[in-house]
Amino acid sequence: MFGWAIKSLLNQRASFAASVVGVASAFVLVLFFDAVWRGESVQIVSYIEHSNPDIWVMQSGVSNMHMASSYIWDWKADRIAEIEGVKRVTPILYLNTAIELGGVDYFGYVVGLPEGAARAGPWAISAGHAMPGAGEVVIPARFLDIAGIGIGDQVSIADSQLSVVGLSEGTYSIANPVFFMRYSDLSDILSAAGTYSYLLVDLQPDADPGQVVSRIEDEVEKVNAMTHEAFVASDFRMAMHMGVQILVVMTAIGMALAVVIVSFTAYTQVTRRQRELAIAKALGFRSRMIYLFVVYQSLVVTLLGYFMAIGCTYALVGWVPHWVPNVTLVMSSSSAVQLGASILTVAILSSLPAALRVARLDPVQVFND
């Protein structure tokens, strides 16, 4: 039955190819949108990942950075610095806000760095310098392409004019490009003198991060301490969660399209092959065997469409950032595997309308010349 099903598909190559391409298009929609969202989510946690302390400390009740606010009194940083196992504490002030570049507002992270901060600043610089002084700002280098803003240009953050002194790499995403300015300037803007947002804690070489987290939470009230890995995972989850509903809708649309296309293919195959299927019935094949013919064809079309979609999405993920530089795409093998796992369901669901037609086939029609 399988051989006949394959040969029947290959016997009508144009229709077969069109079906595979149709199914692939639907799956590309699902995989590409997932890659867009995943890429953006990866960029959202890029700052946290590159800052890379052993422990993050923030206001109690806060467990992520994206779209969050956190305030900690400055004396708590001093307390934490004295806790056993702690080597160094780097405090930052942090704000989610609109930043005006060249007359256009961009939403972004603003990180206020204390003078001489050992970490928490930009990790790669393409022009200028990494540490901003008073009245200065370091912006993502991508804004040179997007807005034509570079070294020496002016940027407005909450009505404060700052001069661009550095262009940083790897700090751009659509949702949260990261801007670096002096702690004191951001503190003035926020009227938040004496407070920090996050504390980046480095540990002594032999200290256990889990134990130090417990000590910090025991000895300093109203703070939340998380290991670096836990904080990255929490922020990534939050970022992904914000897109879950959209992802679910897009996935549902893609899957529904795939079901419609494969159903149409299976139904068309049954309609075109109605006489041959009736012959098979007349020769003694049971309806369920003929139904297998339909399922095999649906499976082949769906699987080929799936693999074609993987290849196309992989190519798009490589090419699109060259054409649209402000988009970061990350193709996830787990998403591809999840989609692959749903293939069987798609193929079987798609075969149902054709199966009903198979069940109703009258083998007596073989006598009609």
Partner: protein
């Protein structure tokens, strides 16, 4: 010793519709076909031949009456058992050949073998023998669309024989063949009945088959009747020159006020393609 019938029909009736719309397609038909026997059912169009053949082939359930195939009464079987009867007890040959377009000659022949004991592997040697016997060795890997009508029907015959069924049911097996191919197919079937002891039942308009049939049954208005010789009206097919009975022929065309009968659709098509060429013969 008279061989016992392989195919029996007892008071077969098939009724469609009800009340005023009630039509008896087949009306109280009883008949039998024994091993090695060729029986031809003839009759005018709409006489119920195909309905009768469908019931005898376990494709259609009779309204009343019973069919017995190789000792198995179909009425005693559930619907789910009938496909197995068709697969192992009956070989079908159709006017339209009904080959599977995507499969080669050999694959078409082996197609029903997966339903028989031993499957395709066990039938491969038998398929090779049939291919050789039916002169298809050079066409073994050909697709049906590349075959001539005669070759297609020989493939269909091989397919009908692959599971070694005791009964062959043939619906207009020469209907789409020219005179030479039709004759060739008839002789193959004749040999199969004689050499292998299979019961062969034909439904046909083709008077050539009468020459090889052991018995001819006349079906009219759904019932078997005595065939009246005065109902014959023999004419010549203007294309192939074959003798055609105007009473039973199903392929006609009107040309210059004359009603012409043809032995097959193929001859009609050839006539329509170039009527002047054949009109000369109409004197």
């Amino acid at each position: 010793m008279v061989p016992s019938p392989l195919l029996n029909a007892f008071h077969l009736t098939k009724v469609y519709g009800s009340g005023q719309a009630r039509v008896s397609a087949v009306d109280d038909v009883s008949m039998s076909v024994s091993a090695g026997e060729l029986v031809l059912i003839m009759g005018p169009s709409g006489s119920g031949k195909t309905t009768l053949l469908s019931m005898l082939g376990a494709l259609l359930t009779p309204t009343s009456g019973e069919v017995e195939i190789d000792g198995v009464r179909l009425g005693s079987l559930t619907a789910s058992k009938l496909p197995a009867v068709r697969a192992t007890k009956i070989g079908f040959i159709f006017q339209g050949f009904n080959l599977l377009e995507a499969l080669t000659v050999e694959e078409n022949i082996l197609f029903p073998a997966r339903l028989a004991r031993g499957g395709v592997a066990a039938a491969r040697g038998r398929a090779g023998d049939l291919i050789d016997r039916l002169g298809l060795a050079h066409r073994r890997t050909a697709l049906p669309r590349t075959l001539s009508g005669g070759e297609k029907q020989r493939v269909a015959i091989a397919r009908a024989l692959i599971n070694q069924p005791p009964i062959i049911l043939a619906d207009e097996p020469t209907g789409n063949l020219d005179s030479e191919s039709g004759q060739e197919v008839m002789m193959v079937l004749h040999d199969i009945a004689r050499d292998e002891g299979r019961a062969i039942l034909f439904v046909s308009h083709d008077p050539r088959i009468e020459d090889v049939a052991d018995r001819v049954l006349w079906l009219e208005d759904g019932a078997l009747r005595d065939r009246r010789q005065d109902r014959h009206s023999w004419v010549r097919d203007p294309v192939c020159g074959m003798r055609v009975d105007e009473v039973t022929a199903s392929v006609f065309a009107e040309y210059e006020g004359r009603n012409l009968a043809f032995c097959s659709q193929r001859c009609l098509e050839r006539f329509q393609a170039d009527p002047e060429r054949y009109a000369a013969k109409l004197t």
